[in-house]
Amino acid sequence: MPALLGPPVLAVLMLLLATFGARLGSREENTRWMLMGALEMGVPLLAGVVAATLPSRDPVAELRLAIPHGYRPALLRRLAVTLGCTAACAVAVSAALMASGWWTFAYGGAAGQLVWLAPALWLAALGFFAAAALRSTAAATSLVAFVWTGEQLFGGALADNPAYRLLHLFATTSWGSDGWPINRLFLLATAVLLAIGGWLLLGNTERVLRGEPE
C-alpha cells in the first residue's frame, strides 16, 4: 500500500509547489529547479526503493515457485502495478508542468517524459537486480540510496568525464540538454541489462528459497 500511495503524495506536493511556488517567496528559478528535480530525482527514488523491496518480500514465494510460471510473472505484475502507478503520476505532473509554463526544458512532449522515465527505470532496475543478487532488501535499498545520493554529488565533479556523462541519472537538472538524448538512451539500455540480470537470478529457485544469506 505505501508503494501505491507514495507517487500520488509526491504528485500532489509537486502540484502544490507549482501552484503556490511563486507566492512562497522562493525565486522562480529555484522553484523551477525544485519541480524538475522532484520529477527527475523524487520519482526515481520511489521507483528504486519499491523495486529493491518487492523481490525480497514475498511471503508466499514457496507457493508461487511450485506453480509453473508462478513466481517471476507474479513479481513482474506487482512491479508493473506499483511502477505503473508511479509512471501515471509522473506523466500527469509533467503534463501539468508543460501546460502551466514551468517546463522550459528543451525537450517536451513525449520525449520530455524521459526526464523521469530513464532514471526511474535505471534505479528500479538497479534495485531489482541488487535485491535478486543479494537477496536482501536492506542491502538493495542501501545501494539504491547510495547511488541516488552519490549521483547528486558526482554530477558537478564529474561533468567533464565523457563516460560518466552517459550514466549520470540527473543530467536534466545538472547539465541541461547538452548530450541529453544519448544519456537517456544509454540509461534505458543499461536498465534493460540490469533487469534481465535480475530476472535470470530470480529464475534460480534454490537461491530464492534460501532467502537472505545470513
Binding site: M1, P2, A3, G6, S26, N30, W33, M34, G42, L45, L46, V49, V50, T53, L134, R135, S136, T137, A138, A139, T141, S142, L143, A145, F146, V147, W148, T149, G150, Q152, L153, F154, A157, L158, Y164, E212, P213, E214
Partner: protein, 260 residues
Amino acid sequence: MIASLRYEFAMQVRRPSLWIVYGLVLAVMVAVLDYWSLDLDVYEVSVPKEAMGVAAQIIVTLLPIVYGCMLADRPSRDRVLRVDGILDTTPSGRTARLIGKYAGVCAATAVPLAITYFGRALLYVLVEGQPSALGWAAVTFLASILPGLVFVGALAFAGPLLLPPMVFRVLFVAYWFWGNLIPANLMPTLSHTVFSATGEYVRYGLLTPISPEYGRDSAVLDFLRPDHTPATAWLWIGVMIALAVVVLSLVRLHASRSES
C-alpha cells in the same frame, strides 16, 4: 544490556550483505571519487589534521546513508524471526535490551565505515610518513563522525518501528539529502545547521577552524547556523546525543504502548 550488545554486534558484523554493500560502495568511491588519492586533486593535505578532516567529510557525506539503510531492518528482526516471545519472558529489562541492541547494531554497522576511514588514514601515514595522522584520525572520528552516527543510528532504528519500512526508506534517503547535503540557500533546510549530522561544526569549529564568513550566503533558518566555534562544536555534539536519546525514548514509549 551487555548480552544484547554483544550478540547483536556479532550477528550484524557477520552479515555478508553488510560487507558486500560497503565493499561495492568503497569500490565506487575509489573509482569515481579517487578516494585513496589523498588529496582528491582538490584539497591541500600536507597537514595531517586537515587531511583527516577531508576524509571525514567524504565519509559522512556518502556512507551514513548506507549505514542507516543497513541497520534499519534490525530493530524488527526479533519480531520477524519470532524470537521476541522468548526474549520478552526473560527477566532482562526491555529498556536495557533496547539500548544493548541499538549500541550493538550501530557499532557493528559502523565497523566497515571505520575501516574505510582508518584505512585511508593508515595509507596517509605510509605515504606521507606522518604518524600523527592516526591520532588526528581517531580524534576526528570520535568528535566529528561518531556523534552524527549516534543520531542517524537512532533515527534509522526508530523509523521502521514507527513507519512502514518502505516509507521510512524513502523518507530517510530524502531526509539525508535534504537535511544534510543540499546548499542552505536552495530551500529551507536543516543542512549546515547544528541539527545536521555531518559534523562540520566540529571540523570547522574545533579541529580546523575557518573564518566565520567563509562560504556563507544568507538562508532561511540561519538562526540554526551559528558560527563555527569550539563552543558550537560542543553544542553540536550535545545536540546529536540529545536527539538520539529523544528518538530512542520514543521507541521505548512506542514499545510500552504496544505491550499494554
